[in-house]
Symmetry: C3
Subunit: 354 residues, 3 copies
């Protein structure tokens, strides 16, 4: 009872934070038809700045940390990335009017990670004084890449099975059938190109470059004077953009139907809670901080908005981008930020208190 | 005598402020044919940042203020917005070679408000330690919207009267005349769309969103670390851009003739002085601060550079944009900033001293 | 012996500075095929910010300095600008497969100055506590303009001599020969347009405008709150961009051949060391600071990346831009920053210690 009221109080307080205020403000002004627009160049530069800062923090943190600690959380991150896609495979893809390829791409995007959502969580954790391991942001690629790889591999297997079945039913010529057989062998999904494309995406590059520079150089001077003080302000602008984007994408989502909206609403919270549970195991086993548990839950709840879509577009070309981008941007991301983060933080704070 | 010398000293001192220095620097380098250009994306982002900051300041201020105080200044702001257009109607529009529609659009733009000029005034007030009500910036829409609405309504009335007269002189067919009659009824100027378009413009949206976020959320963390410290620096860049733009637009103004230049030079000072007088009434009646009086004068002196032109282009399609944008950008805005603000501030300081 | 080990220690320490770290990071990620890109608008705005800051520092510094001191260093800067082009004329242009016009344009670019390289040097000097005259950055145009003028004049003389020779060997018609003769007179290279174009270029305008504003207005408020604190952070982003650009241009350089690469590698160090020697003369004669000597060496080592190329494209239209831009961006600039600056600073520090 105490736990619940404590949780609710803290949940409501977080709704007043500027991070969420700007997100909701963006949704409101775009819904009212405002002409306000932040230039695309500013958006891209802000994303770069945020991920570079997250990376630099992580890199400087790793220097002073015991690398053994990261093993269990990293394993759980990989597990979540794969698990989220399988959950989508057996829920979203089974719903009426949902094409399997579209559903798999959507699940892949929800398994992949959003740098902006992660940045929002880090700001809120800091503003509430909840500590976390500096390397926790480095869990990002451990969930992001397995999710994208799993989604693309499952989609490829599915497509081939479909072709095979349709061929068996009416094999037009023996010739074609044979070439198809050979094709199966040569077209086996190659995993390395998907991993490589993920790593080369702008979001992961910025994060990993920041990590490397934080590890190898002494970036304290630019970190203290530039990346760190501008972080929360730039994030507020990014939240505004994401809110406006969410409102603008609602139309696309409407086109592909209500089942996507339902999935996009439930999935972030479900994924986040499962990851929160796994994180608590790490908390008890290896002393993973509660702030770190929140971060693990947030990256599970988040869905990729920058680097995921192009990878999926290349990897599952038959899937409809309106379906997965619409679900993620219009519903998934706002839910993860405005509901997910406050819930996970409220849980962590209530657990600290108890 | 003392008053005058005091005023002149302060007026000259303000010319050395970086705000005016950057404006004049921009005019000089553009006149010398420099290739220097600030990217458009940076310009738009800077304007957003400044208006968001002005809005946030206002919103946070309104929380702690007595809303009764704002009534009289707001009423004066509305009065000025309408009055400026009527002044233009009976001066500029009567000048030789000035088409009535062009003159009305120009007067509307000079009645509307410039966020950048307002931002410049706030910076200069702060640098001189002149206090003002935090909600004073919220007077912006009270003058902006009435001015645009009045200009568009007067232009529409004028156009219809012209058509009616030309029809009466040579009514081509009875059929056409009747449809014209019906048209007059159905084409009555709708005020709400103009108000809506103004509110949806990027400048007013940013300002009002900032106000709302300042009122409802707790933006102190991003305000102190981001919007407030960057304000005067971003303003200096904006002043440079506006100076370069003013020099670039001089050619356009030259095309439409010297009467526009004369109006654009006198109008900001005249409007500002009338508003200064109205503000002094509020000063004596309700204790409106002298800093607030300066702000009221500045928003009257300013002419819209971001959100006004598209509204007028849609609302008075027959007016020549070179006329009104040229007058406002090439002469009106530099005069308002480099002469108007120092004059109004000098007056206020001299009145404080006396 | 002590001098050498001292120099080497300091040289290696500078490689860990964030400035060089970001440059090398940019080269690495671009070589690995990353999709990371900083928007062009952000790049241009950053360059403007850096040069404006350098200019403002210089202008404020000149106010308090004895202008007589600047004479000898300025004379040496002019000397270096001309000398570098003549060095290129008698080395690079004599190499096999190097067209004389291409070689002259390349030498002109290596004689011209890079604002970013200068900014990097200023940051590193400050981080190491090495003082320098605030007006030292104002040496920039004294080397930049003579280099471009010399290159364009030499190229023009060469082109005319070639035409004259080919005409003499097979004069197609007497008519043509005569018109050629008249042409030589009327086409005499005009120096003022080249100087004017250099001064109107965006880089020099920003620097000179900053100088003027620093001299004439009181920019302390925006300088302290904006231009100065953001300097090193923005520089880190610029270094990243330049690193990525260098990697991207390597292909272009490969097309024009290894001799350009060799020149681009040796020239910055050679030019810098000659300028360092001249600077030391000024050090002993007029007390020019060792930090100032480093700056003179760095601007000699740097090659223009923003304003030089368009001037050369207009001035030597027959030269191949891949040759000179490739040499400068892909090799010259990284060498100047990552080898040149640490070497010159190490030398200065070792000389201070001795």
């Amino acid at each position: 009872m105490d736990f619940l009221s404590d949780f609710l109080t803290r949940f409501l307080a977080q709704l007043q934070s500027p991070t969420l205020g700007f997100l909701i403000g963006g949704i409101v002004v775009a819904s009212l038809g405002s002409q306000l627009a932040i230039p695309d160049a500013a958006y891209k530069f802000i994303v770069f700045m945020l991920l570079m800062k997250v990376g630099l923090t992580g890199g400087q943190g790793i220097r002073e940390s015991n690398l053994g600690e990261i093993l269990l959380p990293a394993l759980f991150a990989v597990t979540m990335g794969i698990l989220i896609v399988f959950i989508g495979r057996y829920t979203l893809c089974k719903l009426p009017k949902v094409k399997t390829e579209d559903g798999l791409a959507t699940a892949g995007l929800f398994g992949a990670v959003s740098g902006s959502t992660l940045a929002a969580a880090l700001t809120l954790l800091e503003s509430q004084g909840i500590t976390y391991e500096p390397w926790a942001a480095a869990l990002y690629p451990f969930m992001d890449i397995p999710a994208l790889v799993t989604a693309i591999v499952l989609a490829s297997i599915y497509t081939k099975k479909q072709k095979y079945l349709s061929k068996r039913e009416n094999p037009s010529t023996r010739q074609e059938y044979l070439s198809q057989q050979r094709g199966t062998a040569s077209n086996r999904v190659k995993i390395w190109p998907i991993v490589k494309e993920s790593l080369q995406g702008s979001a992961l590059t910025a994060l990993l470059l920041g990590l490397a520079l934080g590890l190898v150089t002494k970036p304290e001077s630019v970190y203290e004077s530039f990346y760190s003080p501008l972080f929360s302000g730039l994030l507020s602008v990014l939240m505004l953009i994401m809110g406006m984007e969410a409102a603008a994408r609602l139309g696309e989502l409407r086109k592909v139907g209500q089942w996507y909206a339902l999935y996009a609403f439930i999935a972030p919270l479900l994924h986040g809670l499962i990851a929160f549970g796994l994180g608590m195991i790490a908390h008890y086993v290896t002393g993973f901080s509660l702030g770190g548990v929140v971060i693990l839950a947030v990256i599970a709840a988040s869905s990729s908005d920058i680097s995921g879509p192009p990878t999926l577009r290349a990897g599952i070309p038959s899937a409809n981008p309106s379906a997965y981008i619409g679900s993620s941007t219009a519903v998934g991301t706002p839910v993860a930020i405005a509901l997910g983060i406050p819930i996970f933080m409220g849980l962590a704070q209530a657990l600290m208190g108890s």
